[in-house]
């Protein structure tokens, strides 16, 4: 665990942003990842007094505050109804309930970790990141951006009548995934995200017209690059990706 000289529970996003411009300072989400770091920090910036721990639903979208926990998105009835359990399936394997009561959506998205189930799931949906200074940008663009010192305020997920499904594979329960796949469809227009390759998740869009689930999966899996690490080889990951994309496409009603 790192040491810190000060702790400030901010009263506004402007205060958070200003404090965060100093390199020694750090925004604390759930602290699950941060606490593994060492060294000396200046000020820990706490956003928990800004009411950003709510999931709000409007006609067009869900707005998920950065301080919402992974457990909140797992259990939210609105997200469950709209996206058929894809959020629950993407996070339920992450360590345990106590962990998911702590880890935040903001920290998970900001981190853009290679192994991230959360990023993979969100990329298959029409998702935007709301940054305090940078405004609203598509998550895919945010995922490719270099790390900056802006504040992630909210994650916006559009309600565009998309159906979605998720699958991951782990060598042992609660470990990082060896592969993570999320697939969504709107009519025969498909959006496919693959993470833990082990590079961070990316997504592609494909037209499924005239293709079987097998053909769609083969074409989609070939669009991504794969690497090897202790959890699995590049070849194994490429194979798993194709299998899971095919299964998810079938789950979403794509004919065999």
């Amino acid at each position: 665990m790192f040491s810190a000289r000060e702790y400030v529970k901010v009263n506004s996003l402007e205060e958070a942003w200003e404090l965060n411009q100093k390199r020694a300072n750090v925004i604390a989400g759930g602290m699950m990842w941060l606490k593994m770091g060492n060294g000396q920090k200046g000020t820990i910036i706490d956003l928990s007094g800004l009411g950003l721990d709510q999931i709000e639903e409007s006609e067009e979208e869900f707005s998920v505050g950065c301080m919402c926990t992974l457990r909140q998105i797992e259990l939210d009835p609105g997200l469950e109804r709209e996206f058929g359990g894809v959020f629950r399936e993407s996070v339920r394997h992450i360590v345990g309930v106590q962990f998911r009561n702590g880890a935040t959506v903001g920290g998970s998205v900001y981190g853009r970790y290679g192994f991230s189930d959360v990023l993979t799931c969100l990329l298959a949906l029409d998702t935007y990141v709301e940054l305090y200074k940078g405004g609203r940008i598509p998550l895919g663009e945010f995922a490719r951006m270099p790390y900056t010192r802006d504040v992630v305020v909210k994650i916006i997920v559009k309600k565009d009548k998309r159906q979605a499904a998720y699958a991951s594979q782990r060598n042992t329960k609660t470990d990082f995934p060896v592969i993570a796949c999320a697939v969504s469809r709107k009519a025969d227009s498909w959006r496919i995200a693959v993470g833990a390759r082990p590079e961070k998740a990316e997504y592609i869009c494909l037209d499924g017209t005239g293709k079987t689930a097998e053909e769609l999966a083969r074409e989609a899996a070939a669009c991504f690059s794969y690497g090897s690490n202790l959890r699995g080889s590049a070849e194994y990951r490429a194979h798993l990706a194709e299998v899971y994309i095919r299964r998810l496409a079938k789950e979403l009603g794509k004919e065999a």
Binding site: K35, T43, I44, D46, V97, Q98, F99, N101
Partner: protein
């Protein structure tokens, strides 16, 4: 810095370091049941409740407890003892180091899920590692404990 909280039913005002972990804070307050295991958010030994929800005190800053309610095993001693007797009956403890965290999460699960299935129990407790028992005794003890008033745990949550 100063924090005010309710710890096991008692109002407390305390001075803490900005980087102090909740784990170190509750132990300094005499809640020795809370154990430091992996310290990497993996094992669940350090489980306490924050406003009634189970969290990992090894990864939570004490400052986050300001204005909130923290419960450790010491705060639910009678219930913990009752469930502990089910663990003992099944021979489900060896070194016992994991028990306080497990008990806190089982009691949280009992409050959150009505009549959980075996799969739901396993999922809820996936973050409570035990190096000794192989889990089967713990699962028997949990089932017996949840069924103590008659009935069967059969999963009517989803």
């Amino acid at each position: 810095m100063e924090i005010n909280l309710i710890l096991n039913g008692k109002k407390i005002k305390a001075q803490i370091r900005p980087d102090e972990l909740l784990l170190d804070f509750v132990r300094a307050q005499g809640c020795w049941s809370v154990k430091r295991g992996c310290e990497t958010a993996n094992c669940g030994l350090c489980t306490v409740w924050l406003d009634g929800k189970p969290v990992l005190s090894c990864s939570t800053l004490a400052a986050r407890a300001d204005g909130r309610t923290v419960t450790t095993l010491e705060g639910v001693a009678a219930e913990a003892e009752a469930f502990g007797s089910y663990l003992a009956e099944e021979g489900a403890e060896q070194c016992g180091f994991c028990s306080p965290g497990l008990i806190m999460n089982v009691l949280a699960m009992e409050r959150e899920l009505s009549n959980p299935s075996e799969e739901e129990i396993k999922e809820y407790l996936a973050g409570n590692l035990c190096r000794c028992t192989g889990y089967m005794g713990q699962l028997r003890a949990i089932r017996n404990y949840l069924n103590r008033k008659g009935g069967e745990t059969n999963g009517e949550n989803r």
